[in-house]
Structures are given as C-alpha cells and as structure tokens.
C-alpha cells in the first residue's frame, strides 16, 4: 500500500517537474531579451535538480543526491557569470 502511494506521488511529481522544465524552455526560446533567457535557464536547472531528487526517492538510491548537489552549485556559478556578462560585457575583469 505505502509503495503504491509513494510510487504514484513520485510519478505525478515527475510529470509536474517535466512540465515545468518544458515551460521554462518555451520561455527560453521566445524570451524577448537576454535576461529572460538567463532566468529561464535558472528555472530549468532548478527543476532538473528537483527531478533528480525525486528520481532518487523513486528508486531508493542515494547517489542521485550528489548529482543534484553538483547541478545546484554549477548552475549558480553559471547564472552569476551570465548576469555579470550582461552587466559589464565581460566575466572576469
């Protein structure tokens, strides 16, 4: 019984997160300016990270946590670098 509940919840949550990733990629394509595309990328990787954690709960393995942590840290660095590029025109000055 509890396996069915957890499996159903994990499946629905994965569907919702994939829909959120699809919506973020739509905004990444139509986004009128560069800052919209950067925030769409930010939303995209946050949702991918949540999808990995949900996948870890669904399969019962703890290895997906490390992948989610790496995605979170690298995504932060990428977004800050892109914002700096928009502001100054170069990343490292």
């Amino acid at each position: 019984m509890s396996a069915i509940i957890v499996f159903t919840a994990v499946s629905i949550a994965q569907l919702m997160l994939v829909a959120a990733m699809a919506i973020a990629s739509v905004r990444m394509f139509i986004g009128p300016r560069a800052q919209d595309r950067i925030i769409a990328l930010d939303t995209f990787y946050i949702n991918a990270m949540l999808l990995l954690v949900t996948f870890g709960v669904g399969t019962g393995r703890v290895v997906y946590f490390e992948a989610a942590l790496v995605i979170g840290m690298l995504g932060f660095v990428a977004t800050v670098a892109l914002a700096k590029f928009l502001m100054r025109g170069e990343v490292i000055e």
Partner: protein, 121 residues
C-alpha cells in the same frame, strides 16, 4: 544501497507523498507564472516560488523517506536547500540590476531613472 518503499509505515508514506506533490506543484506554478506574466520585472518573481518551497517540499519528502528507510537521521538534503535558499536572491538581484542597467542604457521610458539624491521638482 537501495531502500524500498514497501517497508515504510503508511503515515510516513502519506507524508512523503504530500511533501513531494507540494514541492512539485509549487515548482510548476512558478514556471507557469514565469511564462504568463507580462514584463521582465514581474516575471522575475515567479520562479522563486519553486526555489523556496518547491525545494523545501521535495527536500523534506526526501529527508523523511531516507531517514525512515535507513532507520537513522539522513539530512544531507538540507545542504541543497540551504545552498539554493542562499544563492537564489543573489543571482536574481544581480540579474535585476543588470536588466535595469541595460534598460537605462537604452533610455527605455518604462523604467525609472537613476536617483540622484536630490528631490525632483
């Protein structure tokens, strides 16, 4: 190490399911708002729904699942939660400042000009 969901007690399974669905629904609502809001400065608010309670709900569900499944305290997911909660305001503040800088450089009439410190007449 694989933890099966079959040997979870029923209230724990319900709690895990509720937290996972709450987090995923908030992430989806944030993404929809990000698609539908009209201007950039309104759009920047929506994804923070997913990075605050979206992250929080899914990490809480995962913590409960692995803590009960392995019969010890597993709270390393809180690392991701703290990290994202600290870094999201920083990145969005940087992005909003960059967007404001670009709009002002193009003399876009929709954004307020730079405040000089003296009252406008």
């Amino acid at each position: 190490m694989i933890y099966e969901a079959t040997d979870l007690p029923l209230p724990v399974a319900i709690a895990v399911a509720v937290f996972l669905l709450l987090g995923a629904a908030l992430a989806l609502i944030g993404a929809i708002g990000f698609l539908r809001l009209p201007t950039f400065y309104e759009r920047i608010h929506a994804p923070t729904l997913g990075t605050s309670w979206g992250i929080g709900g899914i990490m809480l569900g995962s913590m409960i699942f692995f803590s009960v499944g392995s019969e010890r305290l597993v709270i390393h997911e809180i690392l991701i939660g703290i990290f994202v909660t600290v870094t999201t305001p920083v990145t969005f503040m940087l992005l909003a400042r960059a967007a404001l800088h670009r709009d002002r450089a193009e003399r876009n009439p929709k954004v307020p000009g730079k405040q000089t410190g003296e009252a406008e007449v």
